[in-house]
């Protein structure tokens, strides 16, 4: 597969500063005004607009930084990945519409996929040709995989799959589902878990959207009713694939969405700029209680950036990152959720006579407030992260040491 590369992409040997300069210029010059959440000309971009933007970022050498060149990536290091993330965060661009493919399916396939699967799936993910959805959670299981019920039964060279998934984000648009099943019975608990790349147009799959608190329909329940896939759809052997995936996911938790710390800063700037644009809201900025809380947020953002940068430094130095991604995820989600509450209290002062920028901020931060409710839930709840920190970072004993 031939990818048309932007000839201006700097050589990685030129160092991160050159990449930074390039990324900043390219993103600033190419991100459409109407896709900037902090612009008065913002209008919600369509799925296709988002896809095209991400595809053009990829063409410009600003996606797939660390993926191997053989599978369409740039073969660079986390250092360049961080450089690009900082610049991505600094602009109020839409979230990726292909995060399941890029952050979940891609890394897992790189680890457990066959060479054929890697060549088949990976370049198309980066080039925004295929969307993926994630089929892990089930209505009655949640994070307790011992209760997973979706079953895969071998039939000659094929597998027959029956079951139901929930929280399958992006199911409606997805070409593939990264599906977790079990080969035995629920009594096997954590044994016999098997992953598949299931084409979503396979007969027997039915998608039922779920409307979320922020008013979007990005989640779905997905029903698998006698869905038959070839053995080539299997990702790894039973257990082997899933266990590798678990390891990959803990690295991903530490390295994906690194831009969030810088986007947080971008949002705080948007909020302050919106207040400055309106006489009534500007008065809030003169109030000590808002100044204090903004000051607290600035300190939190600095610490968050420090946590992200430290992760990159340590991984570049060859350290295992272990469970430390939990620190970043937890700190970000709690600080950002609290910020969303602050932002809501600011934009609650907006009325129809307020400035256009204030109106934009009202829309943005009201949605952000409701959406932020999920930030302490998805990708491991606050309680799960605290358990991980206690268990794996602090090694706190649960029983008497003999």
């Amino acid at each position: 597969m031939h990818i048309q590369k932007n000839p201006a992409i700097p050589d990685a040997a030129a160092g991160p500063a050159a990449y930074r300069q390039y990324a900043r210029q390219w993103l600033g010059a190419n991100l459409p005004e109407h896709m900037r959440a902090d612009s008065v000309n913002y209008r919600a971009p369509s799925l296709d607009e988002c896809r095209d933007w991400e595809a053009s970022m990829y063409d410009a050498g600003l996606a797939g930084m660390t993926w191997p060149k053989a599978y369409g990536g740039l073969g660079l290091t986390l250092r360049e990945h961080l450089v690009v993330n900082k610049e991505v965060g600094a602009l109020a661009m839409p979230e990726s519409v292909s995060s399941i493919g890029k952050e979940l399916a891609g890394p897992i396939i790189q680890t457990v996929g066959t060479e054929e699967q890697k060549h088949l799936f990976l370049p198309r993910i980066l080039a925004m040709q295929d969307y993926w959805c994630q089929g892990f959670s089930e209505p009655d299981a949640g994070s307790d995989l011992a209760r997973l019920r979706t079953k895969a039964v071998p039939e000659g060279d094929s597998w027959r799959i029956n079951g139901q998934k929930i929280w399958t984000s992006g199911a409606a648009k997805a070409r593939y589902c990264l599906l977790l099943t079990r080969t035995g019975t629920v009594a096997d608990k954590h044994r016999g878990l098997l992953m598949f790349a299931v084409p979503m147009d396979t007969p027997g799959i039915r998608v039922v959207p779920i409307k979320s608190i922020d008013g979007k329909e990005s989640f779905a329940e997905v029903f698998f009713d006698n869905v038959v896939v070839p053995d080539s759809a299997r990702l790894g052997a039973p257990d082997e694939g899933w266990n590798a995936a678990i390891r990959v996911l803990s690295i991903e938790r530490a390295t994906n969405r690194m831009y969030r710390a810088w986007r947080f800063d971008c949002e705080l700037r948007q909020l302050v700029a919106a207040c400055k644009s309106d006489p009534q809201l500007a008065r809030l900025l003169g109030d000590g209680s808002y100044q204090r809380r903004i000051g607290d947020v600035v300190g939190e953002i600095d610490a968050l950036k420090g946590l992200v940068e430290r992760t990159v430094s340590r991984m570049m130095a060859g350290d295992k990152i272990g469970a430390r991604g939990s620190l970043t995820k937890l700190y970000w989600s709690e600080c950002h959720q609290a910020f969303a509450g602050l932002a809501l209290s600011v934009v609650s002062h907006v009325n129809p006579r307020s400035s256009a920028l204030a109106q934009r901020a009202r829309q943005h931060f009201t949605t952000a407030y409701f959406y932020s409710r999920a930030e302490t839930i998805y990708a491991g709840t606050t309680e799960v992260q605290l358990d991980i920190i206690a268990q794996r970072i602090m090694n706190l004993p649960k029983d008497l040491q003999r």
Binding site: S137, G142, S143, D144, A146, R147, I166, W167, I210, K211, S212, I213, G215, F219, D287, S289, L344, S345, V346, S348, H349, N351, P352, R353, R362, Q363, T366, Y369, F370, R373, A374, T376, I377, Y378, T381, T382, E383, L386
Partner: protein
Amino acid sequence: MSMSDNDLKPEEFAQAAAEAIKDAQTRGFRDAGQVLATAGLCGVCALEDAGGLALGIEFALPIVAEAGKLRLHWPLLETLLIAKALGDSPLAAQLASGERVATWAMQGSLKDKWAGHARYAKDCDWVLVADGQGGGALLDLGSVEVQDDTALDPEHPQSWLTLDSAKVLAAVDAPTFAALQRDSHILIAALVNGAAEAALLTTAEYMSTRVQFGRPLSAKQAVRHLLARMRLLQEASNAGIQRLLDTDEDGRIRGTQPVLANALANAAFVLEKSIHLHGGMGFTWEVPLHYALREVRKFDAAFGSGALAQQVGRDYIQSV
């Protein structure tokens, strides 16, 4: 609902109110009004001459708390308060009977020719606004330009009102309007606290039945402690609200703002954490917790979202 005033207790209203509210929730806006009025809820504080029960605000409190618990989408607290404020005006009878429905714009004034934060304005007949000189004015909503504000709640938006050619149906004098504002603080606190109470019950039930690793989630100490904190705040709000019904040790009425500010903050906390504890389910449109959170946030915004607590602080400092 037939009753004798002598042995009437406010808490007995809750049960009857709940029945009527549940019935109303199965109906359209106008029918709902009829059901609520027939049950005596719209006129609970209105004069007997206006077809009301002429009861004190302590009788409206359990009614509005039930409306909060059941997430009634109907301007009951506004209608019953305005029916009270209208005294012996014939308009009061129309509210008490459910013939007309009134809302209240919590920001702006007739003087400003502009008002906002009115619930259900597009469905109502009348709206109460401040007159900008200490009193209030009841306006015909037909004479007012209504603009829905869907940011916080697309299904049940608040409205902004342009009052350039507003038709005043009745005036509310300053002392009556001040008393009405005090009553509204108590009832809004009761409403959001009721919403929090219901959410907490739902969440505790969910945590007690949702199984993970062979035990209910309520077995986890982190879950138990968070639920206990939610209960603590909800009880604190409740105790503060009840206290407003009595005068203070020296026989003066008590300030409502500290309790309202506290109740709004506590309710938001309880609802946010209820959503959190429901996990992915709490984040969906199907689980009704977010409706209650939107309702709380609308009232919070109407009172300046934090400005109320700051005013309480200023008033206290002034009083020392």
